[in-house]
C-alpha cells in the first residue's frame, strides 16, 4: 500500500519538477556562458551542475575558476553562497515523519535547492521523500543540461525568451508563499516585511554591497526570529514546518 502511495508522490514530484526544470533551464543556460569563461567543457558543466545544483554557488565558483582564485577561496565562497541551505534544511528536518530513515533524510537534504525546498516544505503534513526525489529526478538533469547547452551555444537563445523564462522560478515561489499568507495573517505580514526589507537592502548605502546570498541569510534570520517572537506558532501533530 505504501508503495503505491510512494509512487504517486514520486509522479507528483515529477509533475511539479517540470516547471522548476523549465525555469532552471533559462538560469543554468546563462550559467553555462559563465562556466565557459572558466574553461569548462560541456561534460564538465553538465556534471558539476548535476552534483552541485546551486545557482548562486555555481555562479560564484565559475567566476572564481575564470579568475583562477585559490582553492581556499573556493571553499569559503561555497560556504557563503550556500549557507542558506543550513536554515532551509533545519526547517526540512522538522518535516520528516519520525519513522523516516537516515538515508532517505540525507538524500532529501542533498536534493535541496531553493525551489525543491520550496515545494517540499509546501507538501501537506509529513514530507514524502519520494516527492522530493521525483522533482529532482526531472529538474536536476534539466539544470545540468541547461549548463551544458549554455557552454555549447552561448548566446544563441533570443534575449526576449531568456528574459521571459527567467521569472518562472519566481512565479513558483509566489505560488508557495501566497496561499499560506492568505490563511495566516502573521505569514502575510512576514512576507510583506521580507519584500520591503529585501528591497531596502538592495538600494540602501553600505548594506547594498552585501551579496544576495548573504542578504538572504541575514534577513531570513532577523525577520523569522522577529515573527517567532511576536507571533509564536506551534506546529500541529501531523507534520512540522509549513503544514498546509
Amino acid at each position: 500500500m505504501s508503495n503505491t502511495k510512494d509512487k504517486g508522490a514520486f509522479l507528483k514530484g515529477m509533475r511539479d519538477g517540470l516547471p522548476i526544470g523549465l525555469g532552471y533551464f533559462a538560469v543554468s543556460f546563462s550559467l553555462g556562458i559563465i562556466a565557459k569563461k572558466g574553461g569548462l567543457t560541456p561534460v564538465m558543466g553538465f556534471l558539476s551542475s548535476l552534483f552541485v545544483r546551486a545557482s548562486a554557488g555555481e555562479y560564484a565558483i565559475y567566476t572564481l575558476i575564470a579568475a583562477m582564485g585559490t582553492y581556499w577561496e573556493a571553499v569559503v565562497i561555497s560556504v557563503i553562497a550556500n549557507a542558506r541551505y543550513l536554515l532551509m534544511n533545519a526547517a526540512l528536518s522538522q518535516k520528516f515523519d519520525p519513522k523516516t530513515g537516515i538515508i532517505k533524510r540525507l538524500l532529501v537534504g542533498v536534493c535541496c535547492t531553493d525551489e525543491i525546498f520550496g515545494i517540499s516544505i509546501a507538501w501537506p503534513g509529513y514530507l514524502k521523500p519520494s516527492y522530493t526525489f521525483g522533482a529532482t529526478f526531472v529538474a536536476g538533469p534539466m539544470w545540468a543540461l541547461g549548463t551544458a547547452l549554455g557552454i555549447v551555444a552561448g548566446g544563441a537563445l533570443p534575449t526576449r525568451a531568456v528574459s521571459a523564462l527567467s521569472v518562472a522560478l519566481y512565479g513558483m515561489f509566489l505560488a508557495i508563499i501566497v496561499p499560506p499568507s492568505k490563511k495566516d495573517k502573521a505569514v502575510a505580514v512576514a512576507v510583506i516585511a521580507s519584500f520591503t526589507l529585501s528591497y531596502i537592502f538592495s538600494i540602501a548605502p553600505v548594506v547594498k554591497e552585501i551579496s544576495s546570498g548573504t542578504r538572504t541569510i541575514i534577513l531570513t534570520i532577523i525577520i523569522a526570529a522577529a515573527a517567532a517572537l511576536i507571533k509564536p506558532h506551534t506546529t500541529s501533530e501531523n507534520g512540522g514546518g509549513a503544514d498546509a
Binding site: 516547471p19 522548476i20 523549465l22 572558466g38 569548462l40 564538465m44 552534483f51 552541485v52 545544483r53 546551486a54 565558483i61 582553492y71 573556493a74 561555497s78 550556500n82 549557507a83 536554515l87 532551509m88 534544511n89 533545519a90 526547517a91 528536518s93 522538522q94 519520525p98 533524510r105 540525507l106 537534504g109 535541496c112 531553493d114 520550496g118 534575449t159 526576449r160 528574459s163 521571459a164 521569472v167 518562472a168 519566481y170 512565479g171 513558483m172 515561489f173 509566489l174 505560488a175 508557495i176 501566497v178 496561499p179 502573521a186 512576514a190 521580507s194 519584500f195 528591497y199 531570513t220 525577520i223 523569522a224 526570529a225 517567532a228 507571533k231 506558532h233 506546529t235 512540522g240 509549513a242
Partner: protein, 103 residues
Amino acid sequence: MHDTVKVLIYILIAVAVTNGIRILPITLIRKPIKNKFIQSFLYYVPYVTLAVMTFPAIMEATQSPIAGLGALLLGIVAAYFGLGLFPVSIICCVAVFIIELFV
C-alpha cells in the same frame, strides 16, 4: 591538461562543500524540536527566505524591471486565487513576454 585537473579540483570542492552544508543540519537534527521559539522560527523561515529571494530579484532578472514587477503582481493575484505552481509560473513568463513587447 594541467588546467583541466585544476578545474576538476574546483568542481570537487564545490560539490563537497555544497552537499556537506545540505546534509549537516539533517544529520544534527533528527528529532522533532520541542522549543517553542525555534519551532516558530522554522515555521516562518521558508516563507521569509523565498520572499527575500523573490523581491527585488524578479525585477533584476528581466530585461525591463517593469516587466518583472508586472510578473510579480500578476503572479500574486494568480496564486491568491488558488492556481498551482505551474500555471502561476506560466502566467509570470507570459506577462514578461507581453510587457516587454511594449516597453
